[in-house]
């Protein structure tokens, strides 16, 4: 397939998706679970892709995602709460010290930048570490950030351990899709550039990559900062989705969830992370919800083991099964594209032809 036709296909697909979402919003009531899943799924897709950029493409096993999301979410919230409602939000801190607010898109970018700056600073020492030491150091860093943001002395800025609220949010499901879509698009462009190839070289063999003239420290730092930038943006989006935020939300279990999404989708596959994220959110929040119903009967038999929480148990067993028996995830390290789908069907079709026609040579 030619490059232009491929581009047209992709643009067409994205347009079709957006139109479909728009139509769905007109037809279905806005309280539908579907929209909840789609909104949260889009946000998690962005952070999963940003984590995949590190874990899947650069081979840096980082578990700091929740910390960077926290930075993004707080920056967004602090910068956008309208001046008139600051007094009520920061009621224990005399209205806080920030007495201005900036437009939403700028605040999202600012969230990303703050996360990126912190990533740069923490990356200087931490990125020298190898595999699991890096993982535990970044995890520790996320915990430190969480503790610092709950500190009373920083109250005028962060509102201590109280909720931040009243900042602008979104209603339409299109909003997170467009923002996350643009960000994921940028990551894809990065991965397909020379930098992306350098990242993959580092992942496959650090020593060989260094011998080929790739500056390890520089590229690792770059991947770490960029990944954190997008994690920060997704943190801002998450704040918009949740409508209130609190530092205690961003526990390490959040990072684990994102990591599991990346694994389910396939480490090293962008589309895999997106698909994995929607499946993960849909399963954990929606599709398995019937398992929490404690009044379920089969005939006369009361299924007493079904009660709130059972859904999560079933869900984690499914995840364990994927981790153990289906290690490559849904997509492995391949990407979903029109070309691949066409190839897949053509191959099937051809096979049939050869069987029917005896031996055919091409």
């Amino acid at each position: 397939m030619k490059k232009t036709t491929k581009a047209i296909w992709n643009v067409g697909l994205i347009a079709a998706l957006l139109i479909l979402l728009f139509l769905l919003e007109q037809v279905l009531p806005s309280s539908s679970m579907l929209f909840m899943v789609l909104k949260k799924g889009a946000i998690y897709a962005l952070v999963a892709v940003s984590m995949n950029l590190l874990n899947g493409f650069t081979g840096l096993f980082s578990l700091g995602q929740a910390g960077f999301m926290l930075l993004g979410a707080y920056t967004y919230a602090i910068l956008t709460i309208p001046v008139e409602s600051r007094a009520s939000v920061y009621q224990y801190f005399d209205g806080g010290i920030v007495q201005f607010s900036i437009p939403v898109p700028l605040a999202l970018i600012a969230g990303g930048i703050v996360a990126a700056v912190f990533a740069f600073l923490i990356g200087l020492p931490v990125l020298r570490l190898k595999s699991d030491y890096l993982a535990i150091a970044t995890l520790g860093f996320a915990e430190i950030i969480r503790a610092v943001f709950q500190w009373d002395k920083l109250g005028p800025l962060t509102n201590g351990s109280n909720l931040l609220r009243n900042f602008p949010t979104f209603n339409s499901v299109l909003y997170p899709f467009i923002v996350a879509g643009i960000c994921i698009g940028l990551i894809v462009l990065l991965i397909n550039s020379t930098y992306g190839r350098a990242f993959k070289a580092i992942r496959d063999d650090e020593i060989a990559a260094e011998a080929m003239g790739i500056n390890l420290a520089h590229h690792k730092q770059l991947a770490f900062v960029i990944s954190s930038f997008f994690a920060g943006v997704s943190g801002g989006l998450l704040a918009m989705y949740q409508t209130t935020i609190q530092a205690s939300m961003f526990r390490s279990s959040m990072t684990y969830e994102i990591l599991l999404i990346v694994v389910i989708g396939g480490i090293g596959s962008i589309t895999g992370s997106c698909i994995g994220s929607f499946l993960f959110i849909a399963c954990s929040e929606w599709w398995l919800r019937f398992l929490d119903n404690s009044n379920l009967y089969i005939g006369d038999f009361h299924l007493t083991f079904m009660r709130p929480g059972f859904r999560k148990v079933v869900f984690s067993i499914i995840i364990m099964a994927i981790v153990l028996f289906y290690r490559k995830g849904i997509m492995g390290d391949r990407e979903f594209s029109i070309e691949a789908v066409q190839k897949f069907f053509r191959k099937r079709f051809k096979k049939k032809q050869t069987v029917e026609g005896g031996s055919s040579h091409e």
Partner: protein
Amino acid sequence: MEWITKNLPYLMAGISVGGQYALIAIGYTMVYGILRLINFAHGDIFMVAGLIMVYAVTVMPMPLAIVLVIAATVALGFFVERAAYKPLRSAPRMSVMISAIGVSYLLQNLALYITGGLSQQYPAIPWLSDTVTILGATTKRVTLVTPVLTVALVVVLVLLIKYTKIGMAMRAASRDFETSQLMGIKLNSVISMTFVIGSFLAAIGSMLYFTNYTGVTPTAGAMPGLKAFVAAVFGGIGSIPGAVIGAFIIGICENIIKGLGWTTFSDAFTFALLIVILIAKPTGLFGEKAIDKV
């Protein structure tokens, strides 16, 4: 003298918590020594041990419950290794670590399901939870018992590793996985034994730890688990005395920080210490220097 009576409770609490971290940290450090795996599920096994105790005392007398907790925790550790780590023996290290995170997620959700998310009241173990007074500071007896018991268990463990056949096999396996296999060491049973010892110590640790705190929640194991791991890294991962010393240092520092009124930062301090150690001396206090061969 006044200073001592004022700060003694924190120091004692620190030594006690340090001992409890040490018991957990040994599980991390031994598993890491052999499998090069951060066993993220270890903290949750510790939490499950606490929960088993909560439920066991409702149906049986205390001594029996203690035995059951130890047996069930050991069985759980053994089972987790067989079910979740053994099938991935030849997989990349990251897969095993992800599997460990999966197990941790499963155990936490299972605990959430069983407890209904409520904090469960930990039973008072007679004698251990009695109140005693030393130098004007009141504390539970467990605070005094912990360091003694910890040191005793560690001495036994070190002797076990130094002088028994299985201990020798463990040392061989942690030195060189493949060669030890060629020498006829049954690797699977050595690894299982490591998990059994780790879980046994975690079970004891949980009894001591939860006696000091009131409740067991499904996420109660996560933080002590991480801190114990930090202790293991601090002391030099793979080294048992290192893990114990690291755990005591972390426990004491943490409680001194609490005593200074910086409670918010007691967790953050532990991780800051970890990052500093990893950067300054990645092999920890007693770790051996690893050489990367190209």
